[in-house]
């Protein structure tokens, strides 16, 4: 069975060959095309029977394009805005103005960082109170200026720390949700990597929620679920399966509106194509939303979130007998 280690080794080899051909002008094109065919084959095999745990690993892939990389490819311009006007500027959750198809938009995104130093500085995309307050501030700009709000979600979750708890991280997430739901302009969220729990939902309460094919969106990390529910770290892949965190499953549940296909091999194998897909989808959904008058837009949003959930009504009498 192909595993991600084999894949990665082959990917590295292909990359190395390409480098040699380009840099040193070596005549290795035959070897390259051979390897590329092999890689393609293995990928097909691997992606044909992708487990949800494989998807988690893809969503967390070290080469997966990060927030800022996607933002720069998806949007025509990006002008970063900083600070929550009180606590500071949290670089784990960034945002600013941008253009999309000639239209001004407000963008929010988690930033995980690629290098170790970046990851430390961005705390792997785990934002704290200043981050969620900044998010709410930028949502306020979108609201006042009637600019569409677009968020790219990629976080393991909100930052769990003493400082964060001291500044009411929970309350700042609640305010972020409240503010996002009240923006008087179209809102679209795209889960592009990890959609980790409250830290994700804080900027994902949009009119349309899209999701990259190999992104995940989950109420808890598979590791956390394994520890709490299975009391066994080895149950992590099983937990990933159970949590229903994959894009197709969430689409089936109606939690997300559209799965955005990734290149075979995942977004990191072709960030440009991935960005193109995101851009095309954003423009399509924004076009639809722009055609709605404000009261209808808000009514649809209200209905979407008011009605979410899965339960059934029973007759209490019979229920009590059942127990």
């Amino acid at each position: 069975m192909v595993d991600e280690g084999t894949l990665k080794a082959l990917e590295d080899k292909v990359a190395e060959l390409k480098r040699l051909i380009q840099q040193d002008g070596l005549e290795l094109s035959e070897e390259l095309s051979l390897l590329e065919r092999k890689l393609e084959e293995l990928r097909r095999e691997y992606f044909a029977k992708l487990s949800d745990w494989d998807r988690v690993k893809l969503a967390r892939h070290e080469r997966r394009p990060t927030g800022i990389e996607l933002v720069e490819k998806v949007f025509d311009d990006f002008y970063e805005l900083r600070g929550d006007r009180l606590l500071g500027d949290d670089q784990a959750l960034r945002g600013g103005l941008a253009k999309l198809g000639g239209k001004p938009v407000v963008v929010l995104f988690h930033q995980k960082g690629r290098t170790l130093e970046e990851q430390r500085r961005y705390r792997f995309g785990m934002a704290g109170p200043a981050g969620y307050r900044k998010a709410a501030r930028l949502m306020g700009i979108a609201d006042r200026l009637r600019l569409p709000l677009i968020s790219l979600v990629d976080t393991p979750g909100a930052y769990p720390g003493v400082e964060a708890e001291s500044h009411n991280i929970a309350g700042t997430i609640a305010r972020s949700i409240e503010t996002m739901l009240s923006v008087r302009a179209p809102t679209v969220a795209v889960i592009v990597g990890e959609g980790g729990s409250g830290g994700a939902v804080a900027i994902a309460c949009a009119d349309r929620v899209l999701m990259l094919e190999y992104a995940i969106y989950s109420v808890i990390s598979p590791e956390g679920a394994a520890a709490i529910l299975w009391k066994d770290q080895k149950a992590t892949p099983k937990a990933a399966e159970a949590l229903g965190l994959s894009a197709p499953k969430l689409r089936a549940l109606g939690v997300i509106d559209e799965v955005l296909p990734e290149p075979l091999g995942g977004a990191h194998t072709d960030p440009d194509a991935t960005a193109d897909t995101i851009r095309e989808a954003l423009m399509r959904h924004l076009d639809e939303l722009f055609s709605l008058p404000l009261d209808e837009l808000l009514a649809l949003r209200y209905k979407r979130y008011r009605d979410v959930g899965s339960y059934r009504e029973i007759e209490t009498g019979s229920f009590l007998q059942d127990l």
Binding site: A202, V219, A239, S310
Partner: protein
């Protein structure tokens, strides 16, 4: 298991039990002083040990009884039962877990909603029950809270939420996460209708419930002995390697950081709510 004890003051009254008792036991043993207490007697004393003042664990029903005027509560919890949207199985299937919890608690899910009076003031009161899968918020809890707020709007009476929750209902996956925007949305409707919303944080008020509906009250009380926080201490220590301060996520920690309006002893909770409700009573500006 004690979760709050003021060691310096040797104050046994600050001992809180977090392990539920079995509903069928007529006599309960106080885990603080070891005395056996007659359940009925305990109920008359807000579930505070008459011997040592320790707080016993409260079910939703017991909590309601301890807060509302006798005979005033009408159960309006909607007859809703959780589906199993993910076909979730951990060590047991989710439907079995729900059924077990139902059997144990006599509740349909982790919240009970009543129309009642508190010291004469009509309210819609939603009380979460920690015994039911850790008071976790899934689709049913989310819907019940929304229906409760909508009922408060309809009746024009304050909404009171007694929170007790470990967070989101993991077994319903992202659908339980979605109960965060859902409840926040309807809280907005409540606010636009000018209906007061009072939250009481009891043991424990954490995770997704704290990061949505619970944090958005007009007035927030914390019961002495509660735990208030977004992330669990173990997660924090594992992720950040930080040493946690001794009062971390206690009600006094929250009060000092401006997260709650008051810390209230259980025996005063009812009169405290009565005071607030009476202060909100009377001719408001109708212009």
């Amino acid at each position: 298991m004690p979760i709050w004890k003021d060691e310096k003051k040797k104050n046994r009254r600050d001992y809180v039990e977090v392990t539920p008792s079995r509903a069928e036991d007529l006599w309960l043993r106080c885990q603080s002083c070891g005395e056996l207490v007659f359940r009925k007697k305990l109920a008359q004393n807000s579930y505070i040990c008459p011997h040592c003042g320790a707080y016993f664990f409260l079910s939703a029903e017991e909590r309601i009884a301890s807060l509302v005027d006798e005979g005033s509560a009408a159960d309006v919890t909607a007859p809703l039962v959780a589906n199993d949207p993910l076909g979730f199985v951990d060590r047991k299937p989710y439907p079995d877990r729900v059924k077990e919890a139902q059997r144990e608690t006599g509740l349909l899910d982790a919240v009970k909603v009543v129309e009642a009076r508190i010291e004469g003031h009509p309210v819609v009161l939603a009380v979460m029950d920690f015994r039911f899968i850790g008071g976790s918020m899934g689709s049913v809890v989310g819907e019940e809270l929304c229906l409760a707020m909508e009922r408060a709007i309809e009746l024009g009476v304050p909404f009171v939420l007694v929170a007790a929750s470990g967070g989101a209902r993991v077994q319903e996956g992202v659908l339980s996460l979605m109960q965060m925007p859902k409840t926040v949305l309807v809280r907005g409707k409540l606010a636009r209708a000018g209906i007061p919303y009072i939250a009481v944080f009891t043991y424990p008020t954490t995770g997704g419930v704290l990061a949505s509906i619970a944090s958005l009250a007009d007035i927030t009380l914390a019961e002495r002995g509660t735990k208030i926080g977004f992330a669990g201490p173990r997660v924090i220590e594992q992720t950040t390697k930080e040493k946690l301060p001794p009062d971390f996520q206690t009600e006094d920690f929250a009060l000092a950081r401006g997260m709650v309006d008051r810390v209230v002893r259980r025996e005063e909770l009812r009169s405290e709510l009565g005071k607030i409700l009476s202060l909100l009573d009377g001719g408001r500006y109708g212009g």
